[in-house]
Symmetry: C2
Subunit: 237 residues, 2 copies
């Protein structure tokens, strides 16, 4: 009877997979914001050259900002983990009594009396590394980040943003008329958002249809708002 349960653990772990999450972050913003910006500008500006220019500048800015942001966030997580770990390593030596009390407190949250928690405490005290591992996970709720996570995270987010962002811009590069380009861009981007949403729904287990609808609504709303705002501003300028 262990097999199904072990399988479930793998699933849960995969669902929160860091790389999948980074691709989702990059793709969802990459498909949405450049699409919305191009749609907004094409409602106000006749030249498709400026729409493409603004779109590419946005992709450059957005991919770098998000990629570097992801890099620093991952490195920050790793440093936070290490510094907390060093503190726990010191504390189980220098303030062993407090740390023992903390273990009792952890178990008391689950109505486990001190007497029942004591054998666990005794076992942990025999293995300082396991004790620190236990405190990291159960007291502080921190998991050890993967090595090289920061660089991989940055490249994954930035690459996904660029890939997503080029989709809505392609029509403006090849179609002369801005209105035609906008319609074509809307069609292919909404299809791409629906496909991406459906795949994302499969991965995170929320159901593909609902997830597809959600990403389409987000992209459509953002683009619609940008379009209306740019049109209004342009007519009053």
């Amino acid at each position: 009877m262990q097999a199904p349960s072990a399988q479930r653990h793998t699933e849960v772990h995969f669902q929160s997979g860091d790389t999948v999450r980074d691709i989702v972050i990059g793709l969802s913003d990459g498909l949405t914001v450049p699409f919305a910006l191009a749609a907004g500008l094409s409602g106000a500006i006749a030249s498709s050259r400026i729409v493409v220019l603004a779109g590419l500048a946005e992709i450059a800015a957005g991919s770098i900002a998000m990629g570097l942001g992801g890099y620093l966030a991952a490195r920050g997580d790793a440093e936070h983990y290490l510094s907390e770990r060093h503190r726990e390593e010191r504390e189980i030596v220098e303030r062993a009594h407090d740390e023992e009390e903390e273990i009792y407190e952890i178990f008391e949250q689950y109505n486990v009396p001190r007497a029942s928690a004591q054998p666990v405490l005794e076992a942990l005290k025999k293995d300082p590394v396991a004790w620190v591992d236990f405190m990291m996970r159960f007291e502080l709720g921190l998991e050890e980040p993967h090595a090289n996570r920061a660089l991989r995270s940055a490249v994954t987010i930035a690459g996904s943003y660029i890939a997503g962002g080029l989709v809505p811009l392609l029509p403006y590069m090849v179609v002369a008329n801005n209105g035609d380009a906008l319609r074509l861009s809307a069609v292919i981007t909404l299809i791409a958002l629906a496909l991406f949403g459906a795949l994302k729904g499969r991965f995170v287990g929320t159901g593909w249809l609902r997830s597809a609808l959600q990403t389409v609504v987000i992209g459509g709303t953002a683009a619609g708002a940008a379009y209306i705002l740019a049109s209004l501003l342009n007519s009053h300028a």
Copy 2:
């Protein structure tokens, strides 16, 4: 001796505060991407009206995309937590033996022998709600999300993005010459990035100076890349 330890817990909890994180997400992208986009366009386009138009369209698109994205992410977390919780509630009844084994396995990761873990198991079996709480946290690593988190998250992220995004655009609205506006925009945005980075560093405990330098480098790099890309594209168009 409990006071310092209790204080530390509060600190750790505050560091990962959801609202602070949402403000950081919104502000860091809001200050960076519209700034970089405006800088990129002002290197290629003479009209500050179009730079402002593109910047505002970007702020509308970015704030809605990020806000709705944050809303769905938070709602997805809440649903994931509930569905996993219902599964655990079923399993401790229908597959009690498997769930008991899982508790032993959790403790075995920390070299706690079965005999030492058994009193904890006995205590948990007396309190099914605490048992499920325990499995959610210790087996699955999931914490119960706050109620109304999704809406608050969406509003916080979108509002921070708008507030951040308006800073670099203001000079283009009031200064006639695009080159002058770009210089003024760069100065006030880099100051805002440094202030934001310093405050962020204080909150997350990485040190204000280093955090300030990091946000300035991200914003500067993204803006520089967008500026160079837009200039290159413009000179070849």
